[in-house]
Amino acid sequence: MAGVKRNRLKTSSLHASKIVDNIHFAFLALPAAALLFVFAYIPMSGIVIAFKHFRVTEGVFGSPWVGFKNFEFFFKSADAWRTIRNTLGMNFLLIVSSLICNIAFALLCYYLRSRRAIKTYQTITIIPSFLSWVVVGYLVYALLKPSGGIINQIITFFGGTPVKWYSEPYKWPALLVIINLWRGVGYGSLFYFASLMGIEHDYFEVAALEGANRWHELRYIILPHLLPLIIIMQILAIGNIFRADFGLFFNVTRDAGPLYPTTDVIDTYIYRALMKLGDIGMSSAAGLFQSVVGFVLILATNLIVKRIDADYALF
Protein backbone atom coordinates (compact mmCIF):
# COMPACT_ATOMS: atom_id res chain seq x y z
CA MET A 1 0.00 0.00 0.00
CA ALA A 2 2.56 2.45 1.23
CA GLY A 3 4.87 1.54 -1.62
CA VAL A 4 2.21 2.15 -4.22
CA LYS A 5 1.33 5.47 -2.70
CA ARG A 6 4.89 6.63 -2.70
CA ASN A 7 5.22 5.58 -6.29
CA ARG A 8 2.19 7.58 -7.33
CA LEU A 9 3.50 10.61 -5.49
CA LYS A 10 6.77 10.25 -7.30
CA THR A 11 5.19 10.04 -10.75
CA SER A 12 2.90 12.96 -10.10
CA SER A 13 5.77 15.11 -8.88
CA LEU A 14 7.73 13.95 -11.89
CA HIS A 15 4.82 14.96 -14.03
CA ALA A 16 4.65 18.33 -12.31
CA SER A 17 8.36 18.91 -12.77
CA LYS A 18 7.98 18.07 -16.44
CA ILE A 19 5.38 20.79 -16.74
CA VAL A 20 7.63 23.21 -14.89
CA ASP A 21 10.49 22.28 -17.23
CA ASN A 22 8.40 22.97 -20.25
CA ILE A 23 7.24 26.27 -18.86
CA HIS A 24 10.89 27.17 -18.45
CA PHE A 25 11.61 26.09 -22.01
CA ALA A 26 8.75 28.15 -23.33
CA PHE A 27 9.98 31.13 -21.39
CA LEU A 28 13.51 30.68 -22.72
CA ALA A 29 12.46 30.31 -26.32
CA LEU A 30 9.82 33.02 -26.24
CA PRO A 31 11.85 36.17 -27.06
CA ALA A 32 13.50 34.65 -30.12
CA ALA A 33 10.30 32.97 -31.27
CA ALA A 34 8.30 36.17 -30.87
CA LEU A 35 10.89 38.19 -32.79
CA LEU A 36 10.81 35.68 -35.61
CA PHE A 37 7.05 35.81 -35.60
CA VAL A 38 7.05 39.58 -35.95
CA PHE A 39 9.93 39.94 -38.39
CA ALA A 40 9.77 36.72 -40.41
CA TYR A 41 6.29 35.18 -40.22
CA ILE A 42 4.14 38.31 -40.41
CA PRO A 43 6.03 39.60 -43.50
CA MET A 44 5.42 36.17 -45.07
CA SER A 45 1.71 36.91 -44.99
CA GLY A 46 2.55 40.18 -46.69
CA ILE A 47 3.22 38.32 -49.92
CA VAL A 48 -0.43 39.03 -50.77
CA ILE A 49 0.79 42.50 -51.74
CA ALA A 50 2.15 40.95 -54.91
CA PHE A 51 -1.42 40.25 -55.96
CA LYS A 52 -2.72 43.71 -55.14
CA HIS A 53 -2.63 47.19 -56.54
CA PHE A 54 -1.05 48.61 -53.43
CA ARG A 55 -2.07 52.10 -52.50
CA VAL A 56 -0.56 53.80 -49.48
CA THR A 57 -3.87 55.40 -48.63
CA GLU A 58 -5.63 52.05 -48.35
CA GLY A 59 -2.99 49.84 -46.75
CA VAL A 60 -2.26 46.14 -47.31
CA PHE A 61 -5.79 44.89 -46.74
CA GLY A 62 -7.73 47.76 -48.24
CA SER A 63 -5.93 47.79 -51.58
CA PRO A 64 -7.78 46.11 -54.44
CA TRP A 65 -6.83 42.67 -55.79
CA VAL A 66 -5.36 42.56 -59.27
CA GLY A 67 -4.56 38.88 -59.64
CA PHE A 68 -1.35 38.23 -61.53
CA LYS A 69 -1.15 41.64 -63.14
CA ASN A 70 1.98 42.67 -61.21
CA PHE A 71 3.70 39.48 -62.36
CA GLU A 72 2.61 40.18 -65.89
CA PHE A 73 4.23 43.61 -65.71
CA PHE A 74 7.40 42.14 -64.26
CA PHE A 75 7.75 39.35 -66.78
CA LYS A 76 6.77 41.56 -69.69
CA SER A 77 9.36 44.19 -68.83
CA ALA A 78 12.52 43.81 -70.81
CA ASP A 79 14.57 43.48 -67.65
CA ALA A 80 12.94 40.39 -66.13
CA TRP A 81 14.72 37.80 -68.20
CA ARG A 82 18.02 39.66 -67.97
CA THR A 83 17.94 39.94 -64.18
CA ILE A 84 17.08 36.26 -63.82
CA ARG A 85 19.88 35.24 -66.15
CA ASN A 86 22.37 37.51 -64.41
CA THR A 87 21.38 36.31 -60.97
CA LEU A 88 21.73 32.64 -61.82
CA GLY A 89 24.78 33.03 -64.05
CA MET A 90 26.77 35.30 -61.78
CA ASN A 91 25.93 33.31 -58.67
CA PHE A 92 27.00 30.13 -60.40
CA LEU A 93 30.34 31.75 -61.29
CA LEU A 94 30.76 33.09 -57.77
CA ILE A 95 29.96 29.75 -56.13
CA VAL A 96 32.26 27.69 -58.31
CA SER A 97 35.16 30.14 -58.20
CA SER A 98 34.89 30.49 -54.43
CA LEU A 99 34.77 26.75 -53.90
CA ILE A 100 37.87 26.13 -55.96
CA CYS A 101 39.89 29.01 -54.53
CA ASN A 102 38.86 28.42 -50.94
CA ILE A 103 39.99 24.81 -51.10
CA ALA A 104 43.14 25.69 -53.03
CA PHE A 105 44.19 28.29 -50.47
CA ALA A 106 43.32 25.97 -47.58
CA LEU A 107 45.53 23.31 -49.15
CA LEU A 108 48.30 25.83 -49.69
CA CYS A 109 48.26 26.68 -45.99
CA TYR A 110 47.99 23.00 -45.11
CA TYR A 111 51.12 22.13 -47.07
CA LEU A 112 53.12 25.06 -45.74
CA ARG A 113 55.58 23.91 -43.12
CA SER A 114 56.26 27.18 -41.33
CA ARG A 115 53.55 27.78 -38.72
CA ARG A 116 54.55 31.42 -38.67
CA ALA A 117 54.00 31.79 -42.39
CA ILE A 118 50.56 30.14 -42.18
CA LYS A 119 49.51 32.48 -39.43
CA THR A 120 50.78 35.56 -41.21
CA TYR A 121 49.06 34.76 -44.49
CA GLN A 122 45.80 33.85 -42.80
CA THR A 123 45.79 36.98 -40.67
CA ILE A 124 46.42 39.24 -43.64
CA THR A 125 44.17 37.59 -46.18
CA ILE A 126 41.19 37.61 -43.83
CA ILE A 127 41.28 41.40 -43.52
CA PRO A 128 39.23 42.07 -46.68
CA SER A 129 36.32 40.04 -45.33
CA PHE A 130 36.02 42.42 -42.40
CA LEU A 131 35.15 45.20 -44.81
CA SER A 132 31.65 46.19 -45.78
CA TRP A 133 30.74 46.32 -49.46
CA VAL A 134 30.63 50.07 -49.15
CA VAL A 135 34.31 50.21 -48.28
CA VAL A 136 35.13 47.58 -50.90
CA GLY A 137 33.35 49.87 -53.35
CA TYR A 138 35.71 52.68 -52.35
CA LEU A 139 38.77 50.46 -52.81
CA VAL A 140 37.59 49.20 -56.18
CA TYR A 141 36.90 52.75 -57.30
CA ALA A 142 40.46 53.81 -56.43
CA LEU A 143 41.69 50.98 -58.64
CA LEU A 144 39.24 51.21 -61.53
CA LYS A 145 38.51 54.91 -61.80
CA PRO A 146 38.85 55.47 -65.56
CA SER A 147 40.95 58.60 -65.27
CA GLY A 148 43.55 58.36 -62.54
CA GLY A 149 42.69 54.88 -61.27
CA ILE A 150 45.65 52.62 -60.53
CA ILE A 151 44.79 49.92 -63.06
CA ASN A 152 44.49 52.34 -65.96
CA GLN A 153 47.76 53.98 -64.93
CA ILE A 154 49.41 50.56 -65.12
CA ILE A 155 47.79 49.87 -68.49
CA THR A 156 49.00 53.18 -69.93
CA PHE A 157 52.45 52.62 -68.43
CA PHE A 158 52.76 49.48 -70.52
CA GLY A 159 51.49 51.30 -73.57
CA GLY A 160 47.91 50.04 -73.57
CA THR A 161 44.76 52.08 -73.96
CA PRO A 162 42.94 52.83 -70.74
CA VAL A 163 39.66 51.01 -70.17
CA LYS A 164 36.43 52.75 -69.19
CA TRP A 165 35.67 50.22 -66.54
CA TYR A 166 32.34 51.58 -65.41
CA SER A 167 30.81 51.51 -68.87
CA GLU A 168 32.04 48.16 -70.15
CA PRO A 169 29.46 45.64 -68.95
CA TYR A 170 31.14 42.56 -70.39
CA LYS A 171 34.25 43.02 -68.28
CA TRP A 172 32.27 42.84 -65.06
CA PRO A 173 31.48 39.16 -64.67
CA ALA A 174 35.23 38.54 -64.38
CA LEU A 175 35.76 41.63 -62.23
CA LEU A 176 32.99 40.64 -59.83
CA VAL A 177 34.40 37.15 -59.53
CA ILE A 178 37.84 38.57 -58.71
CA ILE A 179 36.48 41.12 -56.23
CA ASN A 180 34.36 38.49 -54.55
CA LEU A 181 37.36 36.15 -54.27
CA TRP A 182 39.54 38.97 -52.98
CA ARG A 183 37.09 39.65 -50.21
CA GLY A 184 36.07 36.08 -49.43
CA VAL A 185 38.89 33.57 -49.89
CA GLY A 186 40.87 34.43 -46.77
CA TYR A 187 37.84 33.79 -44.65
CA GLY A 188 36.19 31.05 -46.71
CA SER A 189 39.31 28.92 -46.74
CA LEU A 190 39.41 28.84 -42.94
CA PHE A 191 36.51 26.36 -42.83
CA TYR A 192 38.35 23.97 -45.10
CA PHE A 193 41.65 24.55 -43.34
CA ALA A 194 40.06 23.75 -39.98
CA SER A 195 38.65 20.58 -41.47
CA LEU A 196 42.01 19.60 -42.99
CA MET A 197 43.69 19.96 -39.61
CA GLY A 198 41.41 17.20 -38.40
CA ILE A 199 42.87 14.53 -40.70
CA GLU A 200 44.74 11.87 -38.77
CA HIS A 201 48.39 11.77 -39.78
CA ASP A 202 48.44 7.98 -39.76
CA TYR A 203 46.59 7.98 -43.06
CA PHE A 204 49.43 9.74 -44.81
CA GLU A 205 52.04 7.49 -43.29
CA VAL A 206 50.17 4.39 -44.41
CA ALA A 207 49.65 5.91 -47.84
CA ALA A 208 53.31 6.81 -48.13
CA LEU A 209 54.25 3.20 -47.33
CA GLU A 210 51.94 2.07 -50.11
CA GLY A 211 53.83 4.36 -52.48
CA ALA A 212 51.16 7.03 -52.86
CA ASN A 213 52.20 10.37 -54.31
CA ARG A 214 50.76 13.83 -53.56
CA TRP A 215 48.03 13.41 -56.17
CA HIS A 216 46.91 10.13 -54.62
CA GLU A 217 46.86 11.76 -51.21
CA LEU A 218 44.65 14.50 -52.52
CA ARG A 219 42.37 12.17 -54.40
CA TYR A 220 41.94 9.41 -51.82
CA ILE A 221 42.45 11.05 -48.44
CA ILE A 222 41.96 14.78 -48.52
CA LEU A 223 39.00 15.20 -50.87
CA PRO A 224 36.92 12.43 -49.28
CA HIS A 225 37.63 14.05 -45.93
CA LEU A 226 36.42 17.45 -47.13
CA LEU A 227 33.42 16.10 -48.99
CA PRO A 228 30.73 16.45 -46.26
CA LEU A 229 31.74 20.05 -45.63
CA ILE A 230 31.81 20.82 -49.36
CA ILE A 231 28.35 19.35 -49.82
CA ILE A 232 26.80 21.21 -46.89
CA MET A 233 28.30 24.49 -48.06
CA GLN A 234 27.11 23.90 -51.61
CA ILE A 235 23.55 23.05 -50.57
CA LEU A 236 23.43 26.35 -48.75
CA ALA A 237 24.94 28.13 -51.72
CA ILE A 238 22.65 26.56 -54.30
CA GLY A 239 19.63 27.21 -52.12
CA ASN A 240 20.60 30.85 -52.23
CA ILE A 241 21.51 30.94 -55.91
CA PHE A 242 18.43 32.98 -56.62
CA ARG A 243 19.47 35.57 -54.07
CA ALA A 244 22.31 37.85 -55.11
CA ASP A 245 24.70 39.66 -52.82
CA PHE A 246 23.11 43.10 -52.96
CA GLY A 247 26.19 44.99 -51.78
CA LEU A 248 28.43 43.42 -54.41
CA PHE A 249 26.11 44.03 -57.33
CA PHE A 250 24.79 47.39 -56.22
CA ASN A 251 27.60 49.16 -54.48
CA VAL A 252 30.76 47.80 -56.03
CA THR A 253 29.38 48.56 -59.49
CA ARG A 254 28.37 52.02 -58.24
CA ASP A 255 24.91 51.22 -59.63
CA ALA A 256 26.22 52.32 -63.02
CA GLY A 257 23.48 52.10 -65.64
CA PRO A 258 25.74 51.03 -68.52
CA LEU A 259 26.75 47.93 -66.52
CA TYR A 260 23.18 46.64 -66.12
CA PRO A 261 23.43 44.17 -69.03
CA THR A 262 25.61 41.97 -66.82
CA THR A 263 25.24 43.30 -63.27
CA ASP A 264 21.54 43.92 -62.85
CA VAL A 265 20.28 41.10 -60.62
CA ILE A 266 16.92 40.43 -59.02
CA ASP A 267 17.91 42.09 -55.76
CA THR A 268 19.05 45.31 -57.40
CA TYR A 269 15.97 45.25 -59.60
CA ILE A 270 13.69 44.96 -56.57
CA TYR A 271 15.55 47.76 -54.84
CA ARG A 272 15.19 50.04 -57.84
CA ALA A 273 11.52 49.26 -58.37
CA LEU A 274 10.77 49.80 -54.68
CA MET A 275 12.94 52.75 -53.73
CA LYS A 276 13.62 54.62 -56.95
CA LEU A 277 10.34 54.16 -58.78
CA GLY A 278 8.19 53.52 -55.73
CA ASP A 279 6.53 50.74 -57.72
CA ILE A 280 5.44 48.41 -54.94
CA GLY A 281 3.44 46.10 -57.20
CA MET A 282 6.29 45.20 -59.51
CA SER A 283 8.90 44.94 -56.76
CA SER A 284 6.75 42.69 -54.60
CA ALA A 285 5.98 40.46 -57.57
CA ALA A 286 9.69 40.11 -58.31
CA GLY A 287 10.36 39.51 -54.61
CA LEU A 288 7.76 36.79 -54.28
CA PHE A 289 9.01 35.11 -57.43
CA GLN A 290 12.49 35.13 -55.92
CA SER A 291 11.32 33.69 -52.61
CA VAL A 292 9.30 30.90 -54.17
CA VAL A 293 12.00 29.83 -56.60
CA GLY A 294 14.58 29.95 -53.81
CA PHE A 295 12.37 27.79 -51.63
CA VAL A 296 11.85 25.21 -54.35
CA LEU A 297 15.57 25.16 -55.18
CA ILE A 298 16.70 24.46 -51.64
CA LEU A 299 14.10 21.69 -51.20
CA ALA A 300 15.07 20.15 -54.53
CA THR A 301 18.80 20.25 -53.82
CA ASN A 302 18.29 18.68 -50.46
CA LEU A 303 16.07 15.98 -51.92
CA ILE A 304 18.67 15.10 -54.54
CA VAL A 305 21.43 14.94 -51.94
CA LYS A 306 19.19 12.79 -49.77
CA ARG A 307 18.65 10.36 -52.64
CA ILE A 308 22.37 10.03 -53.19
CA ASP A 309 23.42 9.80 -49.57
CA ALA A 310 21.03 10.59 -46.74
CA ASP A 311 23.90 11.40 -44.37
CA TYR A 312 24.82 14.47 -46.33
CA ALA A 313 21.35 15.96 -46.47
CA LEU A 314 20.71 19.15 -44.57
CA PHE A 315 17.32 18.07 -43.25
Binding site: A33, G46, I47, I124, T125, P128, L131, Q290
Partner: protein
Amino acid sequence: MMVKKKRPQILLNGIGIVYSLLCIIPFVIVVSASLSRPIDLSQAGYKLIPSPLSLNAYETVFRNPAVIGRSYAVTIFVTVVTVFFGLLFMSMAAYTLSRRNCAFRGALSFYFFFTMLFSGGIVPSYIWITQYLKLQDTYRVMIIPSLINVFYVFMIRTFFQQLPSDIFESAKIDGASEAVIFFRIALPLSKPVLATVAFFTAMGKWNDWTTGLYYLNDARLYPLQYLLYSIQRNIQALLAAMDFTTSGMGAIPIEDVPGENLLMAMAVIATGPMLVVFPLFQKHFVSGLTVGAIKG
Protein backbone atom coordinates in the same frame (compact mmCIF):
# COMPACT_ATOMS: atom_id res chain seq x y z
CA MET B 1 66.62 15.25 -51.57
CA MET B 2 66.48 18.39 -49.40
CA VAL B 3 66.68 20.69 -52.41
CA LYS B 4 63.87 18.85 -54.08
CA LYS B 5 61.64 19.35 -51.06
CA LYS B 6 62.45 23.01 -50.63
CA ARG B 7 61.29 24.17 -54.02
CA PRO B 8 57.58 23.58 -53.54
CA GLN B 9 57.81 25.42 -50.22
CA ILE B 10 59.31 28.45 -51.94
CA LEU B 11 56.55 28.35 -54.53
CA LEU B 12 53.85 28.08 -51.88
CA ASN B 13 55.35 30.94 -49.91
CA GLY B 14 55.61 32.97 -53.08
CA ILE B 15 51.89 32.56 -53.76
CA GLY B 16 51.10 33.35 -50.13
CA ILE B 17 53.16 36.53 -50.19
CA VAL B 18 51.74 37.77 -53.48
CA TYR B 19 48.19 37.10 -52.33
CA SER B 20 48.84 38.85 -49.01
CA LEU B 21 50.26 41.87 -50.82
CA LEU B 22 47.22 42.01 -53.08
CA CYS B 23 45.08 42.14 -49.97
CA ILE B 24 46.96 45.11 -48.58
CA ILE B 25 47.79 47.27 -51.58
CA PRO B 26 44.27 48.67 -52.12
CA PHE B 27 44.39 49.99 -48.55
CA VAL B 28 47.69 51.66 -49.15
CA ILE B 29 46.22 53.38 -52.19
CA VAL B 30 43.20 54.58 -50.25
CA VAL B 31 45.33 55.87 -47.38
CA SER B 32 47.60 57.57 -49.88
CA ALA B 33 44.59 59.17 -51.61
CA SER B 34 43.31 60.45 -48.28
CA LEU B 35 46.65 62.19 -47.81
CA SER B 36 46.58 63.87 -51.22
CA ARG B 37 45.16 67.09 -52.54
CA PRO B 38 41.92 66.64 -54.50
CA ILE B 39 43.37 68.50 -57.45
CA ASP B 40 46.27 66.04 -57.67
CA LEU B 41 43.89 63.10 -57.49
CA SER B 42 41.96 64.33 -60.48
CA GLN B 43 44.97 65.44 -62.47
CA ALA B 44 47.77 63.00 -61.65
CA GLY B 45 45.54 60.17 -60.45
CA TYR B 46 45.85 57.84 -57.50
CA LYS B 47 49.32 56.92 -56.30
CA LEU B 48 50.86 54.44 -53.90
CA ILE B 49 52.67 57.29 -52.17
CA PRO B 50 51.05 60.71 -52.01
CA SER B 51 52.94 63.61 -53.49
CA PRO B 52 52.65 66.28 -52.43
CA LEU B 53 51.45 65.21 -49.00
CA SER B 54 48.39 67.07 -47.78
CA LEU B 55 46.45 66.81 -44.54
CA ASN B 56 43.62 68.85 -46.01
CA ALA B 57 41.08 66.01 -45.75
CA TYR B 58 41.86 65.15 -42.13
CA GLU B 59 41.89 68.81 -41.16
CA THR B 60 38.42 69.15 -42.63
CA VAL B 61 37.15 66.10 -40.76
CA PHE B 62 38.62 67.07 -37.42
CA ARG B 63 37.74 70.71 -37.66
CA ASN B 64 34.22 69.56 -37.05
CA PRO B 65 34.46 66.01 -35.72
CA ALA B 66 30.81 65.94 -34.66
CA VAL B 67 29.62 64.28 -37.88
CA ILE B 68 31.89 61.28 -37.78
CA GLY B 69 31.82 61.19 -33.97
CA ARG B 70 28.04 60.94 -33.94
CA SER B 71 28.17 58.20 -36.53
CA TYR B 72 30.72 56.28 -34.47
CA ALA B 73 28.54 56.64 -31.38
CA VAL B 74 25.46 55.34 -33.22
CA THR B 75 27.38 52.40 -34.66
CA ILE B 76 28.94 51.42 -31.34
CA PHE B 77 25.66 51.73 -29.48
CA VAL B 78 23.75 49.67 -32.03
CA THR B 79 26.48 47.03 -32.20
CA VAL B 80 26.78 46.60 -28.44
CA VAL B 81 23.04 46.40 -27.83
CA THR B 82 22.50 44.00 -30.73
CA VAL B 83 25.32 41.71 -29.61
CA PHE B 84 24.11 41.61 -26.02
CA PHE B 85 20.42 40.98 -26.60
CA GLY B 86 20.97 38.93 -29.73
CA LEU B 87 23.33 36.61 -27.92
CA LEU B 88 21.02 36.32 -24.92
CA PHE B 89 17.88 35.56 -26.91
CA MET B 90 19.59 33.29 -29.40
CA SER B 91 21.31 31.18 -26.76
CA MET B 92 18.10 30.94 -24.70
CA ALA B 93 16.26 29.59 -27.72
CA ALA B 94 19.20 27.38 -28.67
CA TYR B 95 19.19 25.83 -25.20
CA THR B 96 15.51 24.91 -25.50
CA LEU B 97 16.16 23.43 -28.93
CA SER B 98 19.05 21.38 -27.56
CA ARG B 99 17.14 19.73 -24.70
CA ARG B 100 15.61 16.35 -25.39
CA ASN B 101 13.14 16.71 -22.53
CA CYS B 102 11.50 19.69 -24.16
CA ALA B 103 8.02 18.65 -25.29
CA PHE B 104 7.75 21.00 -28.25
CA ARG B 105 11.33 20.70 -29.41
CA GLY B 106 10.54 19.27 -32.83
CA ALA B 107 7.89 21.82 -33.64
CA LEU B 108 10.03 24.67 -32.42
CA SER B 109 12.98 23.47 -34.52
CA PHE B 110 10.77 23.49 -37.56
CA TYR B 111 9.42 26.91 -36.64
CA PHE B 112 12.96 28.29 -36.55
CA PHE B 113 14.27 26.35 -39.49
CA PHE B 114 11.45 27.29 -41.84
CA THR B 115 12.50 30.95 -41.75
CA MET B 116 15.79 29.89 -43.33
CA LEU B 117 13.97 28.27 -46.22
CA PHE B 118 11.38 30.84 -47.05
CA SER B 119 11.00 34.55 -46.54
CA GLY B 120 8.42 37.07 -47.52
CA GLY B 121 11.09 39.18 -49.13
CA ILE B 122 12.06 42.77 -48.66
CA VAL B 123 8.85 44.42 -49.86
CA PRO B 124 6.40 43.01 -47.28
CA SER B 125 8.99 43.53 -44.52
CA TYR B 126 9.48 47.08 -45.65
CA ILE B 127 5.78 47.86 -45.62
CA TRP B 128 5.23 46.08 -42.32
CA ILE B 129 8.12 47.84 -40.59
CA THR B 130 7.42 51.30 -41.96
CA GLN B 131 3.64 51.49 -42.17
CA TYR B 132 2.51 49.32 -39.28
CA LEU B 133 5.37 49.24 -36.79
CA LYS B 134 6.50 52.76 -37.73
CA LEU B 135 10.10 51.92 -36.95
CA GLN B 136 11.78 54.04 -39.61
CA ASP B 137 14.20 56.62 -38.31
CA THR B 138 14.69 55.02 -34.90
CA TYR B 139 17.53 53.22 -33.20
CA ARG B 140 15.14 50.30 -32.81
CA VAL B 141 14.99 49.58 -36.52
CA MET B 142 18.75 49.10 -36.54
CA ILE B 143 18.55 46.64 -33.65
CA ILE B 144 15.33 44.68 -33.24
CA PRO B 145 14.61 43.19 -36.69
CA SER B 146 18.07 41.66 -36.92
CA LEU B 147 18.46 40.35 -33.36
CA ILE B 148 17.81 36.72 -34.24
CA ASN B 149 19.93 34.96 -36.82
CA VAL B 150 18.59 31.44 -37.10
CA PHE B 151 21.85 30.15 -38.47
CA TYR B 152 23.60 31.17 -35.26
CA VAL B 153 20.80 29.71 -33.14
CA PHE B 154 21.45 26.31 -34.65
CA MET B 155 25.18 26.81 -34.28
CA ILE B 156 24.80 27.43 -30.55
CA ARG B 157 22.32 24.57 -30.21
CA THR B 158 24.80 22.16 -31.76
CA PHE B 159 27.40 23.28 -29.27
CA PHE B 160 25.02 22.75 -26.35
CA GLN B 161 24.23 19.26 -27.62
CA GLN B 162 27.90 18.40 -27.63
CA LEU B 163 28.38 19.33 -23.98
CA PRO B 164 28.68 16.20 -21.77
CA SER B 165 25.13 15.28 -20.76
CA ASP B 166 26.01 14.05 -17.26
CA ILE B 167 26.57 17.63 -16.13
CA PHE B 168 22.98 18.44 -16.91
CA GLU B 169 21.67 15.23 -15.38
CA SER B 170 23.48 15.71 -12.11
CA ALA B 171 22.24 19.30 -11.94
CA LYS B 172 18.70 18.03 -12.48
CA ILE B 173 19.05 15.51 -9.69
CA ASP B 174 20.23 18.32 -7.44
CA GLY B 175 16.90 19.97 -8.20
CA ALA B 176 18.09 22.73 -10.48
CA SER B 177 15.43 24.10 -12.82
CA GLU B 178 16.01 24.34 -16.55
CA ALA B 179 16.42 28.10 -16.43
CA VAL B 180 19.02 27.78 -13.70
CA ILE B 181 20.86 25.08 -15.61
CA PHE B 182 20.93 27.32 -18.66
CA PHE B 183 22.22 30.41 -16.91
CA ARG B 184 24.52 28.72 -14.39
CA ILE B 185 25.87 25.78 -16.36
CA ALA B 186 25.23 25.84 -20.08
CA LEU B 187 26.11 29.47 -20.70
CA PRO B 188 29.42 29.56 -18.84
CA LEU B 189 30.53 26.38 -20.61
CA SER B 190 29.79 27.79 -24.05
CA LYS B 191 32.16 30.69 -24.18
CA PRO B 192 33.88 29.61 -27.41
CA VAL B 193 30.71 29.44 -29.47
CA LEU B 194 29.28 32.56 -27.85
CA ALA B 195 32.45 34.47 -28.61
CA THR B 196 32.26 33.35 -32.22
CA VAL B 197 28.63 34.34 -32.62
CA ALA B 198 29.26 37.63 -30.82
CA PHE B 199 32.11 38.35 -33.16
CA PHE B 200 30.09 37.68 -36.30
CA THR B 201 27.09 39.58 -35.02
CA ALA B 202 29.29 42.55 -34.19
CA MET B 203 30.96 42.43 -37.58
CA GLY B 204 27.62 42.19 -39.35
CA LYS B 205 26.26 45.17 -37.46
CA TRP B 206 29.37 47.22 -37.92
CA ASN B 207 29.25 46.66 -41.66
CA ASP B 208 25.50 47.06 -42.05
CA TRP B 209 24.49 49.80 -44.45
CA THR B 210 21.32 48.43 -46.06
CA THR B 211 19.22 49.17 -42.98
CA GLY B 212 20.10 52.80 -43.48
CA LEU B 213 19.32 52.54 -47.17
CA TYR B 214 15.78 51.40 -46.48
CA TYR B 215 14.83 52.83 -43.13
CA LEU B 216 16.85 55.92 -42.24
CA ASN B 217 16.10 59.45 -43.37
CA ASP B 218 17.43 61.33 -40.39
CA ALA B 219 21.11 62.13 -40.91
CA ARG B 220 21.67 62.15 -37.16
CA LEU B 221 21.01 58.41 -37.03
CA TYR B 222 23.31 57.35 -39.85
CA PRO B 223 25.69 54.58 -38.83
CA LEU B 224 29.21 54.68 -40.22
CA GLN B 225 28.76 52.49 -43.27
CA TYR B 226 25.61 54.23 -44.40
CA LEU B 227 27.31 57.57 -43.88
CA LEU B 228 30.10 56.35 -46.15
CA TYR B 229 27.54 55.22 -48.71
CA SER B 230 25.67 58.50 -48.68
CA ILE B 231 28.71 60.75 -48.99
CA GLN B 232 29.87 58.73 -51.96
CA ARG B 233 26.56 59.68 -53.57
CA ASN B 234 26.82 63.30 -52.56
CA ILE B 235 29.78 64.78 -50.79
CA GLN B 236 28.25 68.24 -50.72
CA ALA B 237 25.99 67.22 -47.84
CA LEU B 238 29.04 66.27 -45.81
CA LEU B 239 30.92 69.44 -46.60
CA ALA B 240 27.94 71.48 -45.47
CA ALA B 241 27.50 69.41 -42.32
CA MET B 242 31.12 69.99 -41.49
CA ASP B 243 30.54 73.71 -41.70
CA PHE B 244 32.60 73.94 -44.80
CA THR B 245 30.44 76.84 -45.76
CA THR B 246 31.34 79.32 -48.39
CA SER B 247 29.66 82.20 -46.69
CA GLY B 248 32.85 84.20 -46.28
CA MET B 249 33.24 86.92 -48.85
CA GLY B 250 36.57 85.97 -50.41
CA ALA B 251 36.97 83.17 -52.91
CA ILE B 252 38.46 79.96 -51.53
CA PRO B 253 41.47 78.55 -53.43
CA ILE B 254 40.60 75.40 -55.33
CA GLU B 255 43.24 73.27 -53.62
CA ASP B 256 41.62 73.90 -50.27
CA VAL B 257 38.17 72.55 -51.07
CA PRO B 258 38.26 68.84 -50.20
CA GLY B 259 36.86 66.33 -52.66
CA GLU B 260 37.70 62.70 -53.25
CA ASN B 261 40.48 62.88 -50.69
CA LEU B 262 37.82 63.56 -48.06
CA LEU B 263 35.84 60.49 -49.15
CA MET B 264 38.92 58.36 -48.79
CA ALA B 265 39.80 59.90 -45.44
CA MET B 266 36.32 59.09 -44.17
CA ALA B 267 36.75 55.50 -45.33
CA VAL B 268 40.06 55.29 -43.50
CA ILE B 269 38.65 56.75 -40.29
CA ALA B 270 35.59 54.52 -40.42
CA THR B 271 37.43 51.25 -41.03
CA GLY B 272 40.91 51.76 -39.64
CA PRO B 273 40.14 51.05 -35.98
CA MET B 274 38.22 47.89 -36.83
CA LEU B 275 41.07 46.51 -38.87
CA VAL B 276 43.16 46.74 -35.73
CA VAL B 277 40.52 45.31 -33.39
CA PHE B 278 38.99 42.48 -35.41
CA PRO B 279 42.16 40.44 -36.03
CA LEU B 280 42.70 40.30 -32.26
CA PHE B 281 39.60 38.11 -32.02
CA GLN B 282 40.62 35.92 -34.88
CA LYS B 283 42.19 33.21 -32.72
CA HIS B 284 38.90 32.71 -30.92
CA PHE B 285 36.61 32.41 -33.83
CA VAL B 286 38.71 30.06 -35.90
CA SER B 287 38.22 27.47 -33.18
CA GLY B 288 34.56 28.45 -32.96
CA LEU B 289 34.02 27.83 -36.66
CA THR B 290 34.60 24.12 -36.38
CA VAL B 291 31.64 23.72 -34.04
CA GLY B 292 29.35 25.34 -36.52
CA ALA B 293 27.82 22.45 -38.41
CA ILE B 294 24.14 23.15 -38.47
CA LYS B 295 22.61 19.88 -39.48
CA GLY B 296 19.00 20.04 -38.34
